[in-house]
Amino acid sequence: MLSRTPPSRRTILKQSAAGFGLLGLRSLLAAEGGAPNPLAPKAPMFPPRARRVIFLFMHGGPSSIDTFDPKPRLIADNGKPVPFKRGLTFGEDGVKGLMKSPWEFRQHGQSGIPVSELFPHVATCVDDLCVVRSMVGDGVDHGAALLQLHTGVFSFRRPSMGSWTLYGLGTENQNLPGFITIKPTLGHGGQNNWSSSFLPGEYQGTPIGSSDMKIEEIEKEPMPWLIPKGLTAENQRFELDMIQKMNRRHAERNAHDADLEARIGAMELAFRMQVEAPEAFDMAKETEATKQLYGLDSETTRDFGWQCLLARRLSERGVRFVQCSHSYKWDQHTELFKLHTKNAAEVDKPIAGLLKDLKARGLLRDTLVIWGGEFGRTPWAQGADGRDHNPYGYTLWMAGGGTKPGSIYGATDEFGYHAVENRMHLHDLHATVLALLGIDHLKLTYRFAGRDFRLTDVAGTVAQGVFA
């Protein structure tokens, strides 16, 4: 059978230039009366603050009261019975008294925003953060909470916020997918969290591996069928030329049907993606200093560092929406101290590295970075040393993309259980993210089954307070 020699990039580039030239494929299609490209960049509805999004998703639910929302009252009342009514809670087993944070908080930067010992590196970036301490969701189990965070609802399958973003804005680089999710979890909604649902399939997220895969495994073929497996690059081009010869003859016989022309274009685009996309995933050309900045030199931080560095590479190549997932780590019903320590150590340096790198490259200005989990954790202890899920008041932070640097938005009650000030429901978060991207969430609609749908369903208020 055929040899498995991988093509050299240069050959492919050269060959692909012979196929369709450097003329933009889509403009060529348009010239030939092909279908309009649904992924072409679209003008925002109003001047945007952010042009792209990187979402750092902490799957499992990091505890806000142990990271970015200190609660002195819990120190004072440590061990005392829970003095308020508990909402619908995930596990009713092992509910104990209030539990203070096992970590110290210190104020950092010019802004003096308190960060716990868990995030020493992120603490050095605190003047770039806009810490939202008043997040609210409706799902008390992971599945519901992930779905609502990603799609706005959990009772139905709906398009992901990345899909809505792509639908609203298109994407800048036609040789890469516009919505990429790196190492996503296949649990807790899995694909539903990056699906385009009823939006056209072009807007679905493209997963890069999954949470259970190792980097080496993913690097072999980051996206399905990206790497040629049969012929050498030259011969593959030779083969494609034969296909396209037959296709053109067929198209001529069939009055240059737009669908047939579009497929001719899709074949060329695929051929070019083989070159462009692997280049985006190839970190060999990054300097040692950059790799160190992201923690690629340490086993602890390498995985999430790789994700963050890849996120930067994809963002700078024009990918509209990138998600990194630290999955599924943060669900400390037990062993809060041991495992939150470990989890934070894995992501702290890579996150700080990403923020610093984006800033140094001038990308942070118009790249919205979001950090957060699907919910926070309870101020009471579960069992000896755990915390249960708390969707009623938790922290998420944003950086760049026109958010107010070095600021705190909203507040929880003195126990850190309920958001009480400037509550930001997930619908509000979605409305706000779209607003930062220059989209009015009320106007970004899609008609399906006889009705206009939005990311924010029938709710959502833009939180002007987080704008710079």
Binding site: M1, L2, S3, F84, K85, L88, F90, G91, D93, V136, V140, D141, G143, A144, L147, F154, S155, R157, L186, G187, G189, G190, Q191, N192, S197, F198, P200, G201, Q204, P224, W225, L226, P228, K229, G230, E234, N235, E239, M242, I243, M246, N247, H250, N254, A255, D259, L260, A262, R263, I264, A266, M267, L269, A270, F271, Y392, V420, A449, G450, R451
Partner: protein, 875 residues
């Protein structure tokens, strides 16, 4: 008679303002503690304000000591609404008013609503006369022709013979015609040649596989619950096979409808038919389910909602689920219609058990043979009972032995220490010494370290330490085991998953775990009593046998007295509703079923010839699956926001014939396929494309991109490796992922996890298998091209295809090329195409290294054919 909306009693205050602005505030923010289920401080804001309202305003504006709701202050708008209402006297509407205004939103069904075209009885229009009547092969064509002539258009010329064969073979079986089938059809010049092909194709089991797949899309079929936890439905395949068989056997469609809604309640002629009925209700059972949802009522009603949505779209083409929170915005579907159906499905069981808090709910599976299932279940209970009995005996033995032995641990540890120095030969001491000395490095370096390091001076204290640790751990263990036995009994009684038997904690109590178990000196050996019980238990385990066949199905549960949920919120109940069907279709005077869930009555109503929608909806779908587009182009939405058919007379004509034929899908196929309309070319006649760009009038055939099933199955078929096995479960071996690249079965059989649809499916517009599908999209994106270019599947199958060609030693290369064209494209190559292919083979072979170059070049040529648009598009 059922509940009818009482007139509004707007006496004091404005009930509409209350229902719109005030009640929702209470429902959303207060019912959790002061609602129908809990009345903290004696307050119930679902029945009344509890005071004159001034205290209420004080509390919600956070002006008083007491700040409510505790979860955060109400919005300004909410507080303002409460204030307006309090200022107007805080009038609480009487229950009747509540039910009327909030329950139905006040929308009334008008005469115009009833006269909507889709709700009219099916008519029987006469086929119109036309000028070019000679063109018409059957009456269907006359309806098409009449519309074309209105626009001064002519139908496209007939498709070529082989084009038609390719079209109909894919259309009915999803596979390409074989060279033998091509030869037979070419040789048959009789006028009935095409009819004969249609009959042959309809008789193939591959027909049911292909057409069953169409229905499975409508039924949002998948193999897992999706949503949060994505649990596998282990018996989903039975429903899939049921659908395949229903099409193959031409099960009358009205019966098909009834079985899917209430097959378990239909009288079956025999055991097989009875089981078929149970399996058929997989239609209701196999939807997405949020199993981890902790608000179980929400979960149940989300499933009910999903069932209403799928049922109403699939059979009625209506979006009834829009009326969950309010009357339908566009169609005359009222909230009471929604909850009338909700009452039926809420009285139907989809869960076996709602699970413990913090855990998932269990899906219901129905036994196909209830007697065998009962025997199996009682056997299991005997087995579990025996295990518990044995565990109790073990616990007694443990307690007794532990009391005797634990106090002597120190003594033995000292003796063992001395024994190593050639001292005591006491039997117990020797046993301990032997155990200690056979300990591995890890044990010696950790929990036994102190003993090994102890000197004659320290051994007494060290031994005491070990004994104390053992006693403490043993006490913990006993209570852990007691807790486990309790939990085991509870879970067993409630038919949930049983907790695993605890293991001693080797991390926290290593000495206890090592000395007390697995060959340790204090290991408890079975007493005679325990030995007998264990033997009995083991025998019961061995004789249990496999679980009798189960189906993903539903069953009737306790009938629910369904109330309207105001604004869709189950915390806030409105008026009671009877179990009826949408009033605009079924009329105002309906009788509530005397007993049961009402599911059987629903099935009968849906499948009735008088129902104006069910037959029309399926006839339109069948048209859509033949032509790519329906006569009505929003097949799941026949409401006002949906499409209007371009040829309503034809739709009714076909529907009438369909009902007359006994709801036979195969008869409908024949009627459509033997028309000239079906047999037209995809090439438009002059002016047709400009006058009718969307081809709404069917002046030509629609060129269609293959579905993912057609792509993948064709490639397998060309490779000669298609495994034609029908039906059954396709479960990967334990710990193995199913590699779709290696799978030789038809694509229909690839298990679909809603949480991780295989990439090949999702990239080729398979859809989400979560809501009823209106039809597949036919996008044309680069990842699909990458699949064709670079997937191992396509490359390897191209190699198999090439090998088949080369293995046929009697052929010249030119003949091989002809055969390849016939197989892949259902046509012979033109002379210059053969030349071009030959020269391609020669050039590529020259570029390739090694012995395998000839096969490799042919593999590439086969890959080329599979990659062409001509292969991918059906004309």
């Amino acid at each position: 008679m059922v509940f009818l909306a009482a007139p509004l009693l707007a006496q004091n205050g404005d009930p509409e303002f209350f229902e719109k602005n005030v009640r929702p505030v209470f429902a959303k923010n207060c019912y959790g503690c002061h609602g129908p289920n809990r009345q903290s401080a004696g307050l119930n804001f679902s029945t009344g304000p509890g005071s004159d309202g001034s205290r209420l305003l004080e509390v919600v504006s956070y002006a008083a000591d007491l700040k409510m709701p505790p979860a955060g202050k109400l919005s300004e708008a909410e507080i303002a609404a409460l204030k307006t209402w309090v200022d107007a006297g805080a009038v609480w509407p009487k229950q009747a008013v509540t039910a009327a205004s909030a329950g139905t939103g006040g929308k009334q069904i008008t005469a115009a609503d009833r006269q909507y075209w889709a709700f009219q009885p099916v008519k029987d229009p006469a086929p119109p006369a036309g000028k070019a009547e000679a063109w018409a092969k059957n009456p269907l064509d006359r309806f098409i022709l009449a519309k074309l002539e209105e626009k001064h258009l002519t139908p496209a010329k007939p498709a070529g013979k082989l084009t038609l064969l390719r079209r109909v073979t894919y259309d009915l079986t999803g596979l390409p015609p074989t060279p033998e089938e091509i030869a037979a059809f070419e040789a048959d010049n009789s006028p009935t040649a095409f009819a004969r092909v249609v009959d042959q194709l309809l008789a193939k089991p591959q027909y049911g596989e292909h057409w069953g797949r169409h229905w499975l899309d409508v039924a949002r079929f998948a193999d897992s619950t999706g949503m949060d936890e994505d649990h596998v439905y282990p018996n989903a395949w039975r429903y899939r096979d049921y659908v395949t068989n229903a099409f193959n056997n031409d099960l009358p469609f009205n019966r098909f409808v009834m079985e899917q809604i209430a097959g378990d309640l239909l009288p079956g002629q025999n055991a097989e038919e009875k089981q078929r009925g149970i399996v058929a209700t997989g239609f209701l059972a196999l939807g997405p389910k949020p199993l981890a949802q902790q608000d179980r009522i929400q979960m149940i009603y989300d499933v009910v909602d999903e069932q209403i949505d799928t049922t109403s779209k699939a059979f009625l083409g209506l979006t009834v689920a829009c009326a969950r929170c309010h009357d339908h915005k566009f169609d005359p579907i009222l909230t009471r219609d929604y909850y009338a159906l909700a009452g039926i499905f809420a009285s139907t069981e989809a869960f076996r058990n709602l699970g413990r808090p913090g855990s998932v709910s269990y899906i219901y599976n129905a036994p196909l043979d209830p007697e065998a299932a009962n025997r199996y279940q009682s056997h299991r209970w005997r087995m579990f009972g025996k295990q518990l009995e044995m565990e109790e005996a073990l616990a007694e033995d443990w307690a007794r032995e532990s009391a005797l032995q634990s106090p002597r641990i120190a003594e033995w540890l000292i003796a063992a220490k001395n024994a190593t120095k050639g001292g005591s030969q006491d039997k117990d001491a020797v046993k301990w010494r032997h155990w200690l000395e056979s300990a591995d490095e890890k044990a010696r370096g950790s929990y036994l370290k102190k003993w090994f390091e102890a000197t004659p001076d320290t051994i007494a204290a060290v031994a005491q330490e070990y004994q104390a640790a053992y006693v403490a751990a043993a006490a913990k263990w006993e209570s852990q085991m007691a807790g486990w036995r309790n939990r085991y009994a509870t879970e067993m009684a409630q038919d949930r998953d049983l907790p695993a038997r605890p293991k001693p904690n080797a991390e926290d109590a290593p000495f206890f775990a090592a000395a007390g178990f697995n060959g340790g000196p204090l290991e408890l050996h079975d007493s005679d009593r325990v030995a007998v019980l264990r033997a009995e238990w083991t025998a019961l385990q061995k004789s249990l046998g496999p679980e009798p066949p189960m189906a993903a199905a539903v069953t009737d549960s306790v009938p629910v007295d369904q109330h309207i949920f105001l604004h869709g919120d189950h915390h806030s109940e409105g008026a009671a509703v009877a179990k009826t069907f949408p009033y605009v279709l079924a009329g105002e005077s309906q009788t509530q079923p005397a007993k049961g869930s009402g599911r059987l009555e629903l099935a009968q109503w849906l499948a009735s010839a008088e129902n104006p929608l069910t037959a029309r909806v399926i006839v339109n779908r069948v048209w859509q699956w033949h032509f790519g587009e329906g006569l009505m182009r929003t097949p799941n939405n026949w409401g006002k926001m949906g499409d209007t058919p371009a040829n309503p007379e034809l739709l009714d004509y076909l529907t009438k014939r369909f009902i007359e034929s006994g709801w036979s899908i195969k008869a409908l196929h024949r009627l459509i396929l033997l028309s000239n309309t079906y047999q037209m070319s995809a090439e438009a006649s002059p002016g047709a494309k400009e006058a009718d760009p969307l081809n709404r009038l069917n002046s030509r055939f629609n060129r269609l991109r293959m579905s993912v099933e057609e792509v993948r199955d064709s490639v397998l078929s060309l490779s000669g490796n298609l495994d034609a096995t029908l039906g059954g479960a396709l479960v990967p071996a334990k710990g193995k992922k199913l590699d779709t690249d290696d799978l030789k079965r038809r694509t229909l059989y690839i298990p679909v996890r809603r949480g991780s649809v295989p990439a090949v499916l999702s990239n080729f517009d398979f859809g989400d298998a979560t809501t009823s599908s209106e039809g597949r999209a036919r996008t044309n994106v680069a990842p699909q091209a990458l699949f064709v270019m670079n997937s191992r599947f396509v490359i390897e199958r191209s190699g198999d295809f090439a090998k088949r060609l080369l293995d046929d030693a009697g052929l010249s290369d030119a003949q091989r090329i002809e055969r390849a064209y016939l197989m892949a494209l259902t046509r012979r190559p033109a002379a210059d195409e053969t030349d071009s292919a030959l020269s391609y083979l020669a050039s590529l072979e020259a570029k390739l290294p090694g012995d395998g170059r000839r096969l490799a070049a042919w593999q590439s040529l086969c890959h080329v054919l599979i990659s062409t648009n001509e292969f991918l598009y059906l004309d």
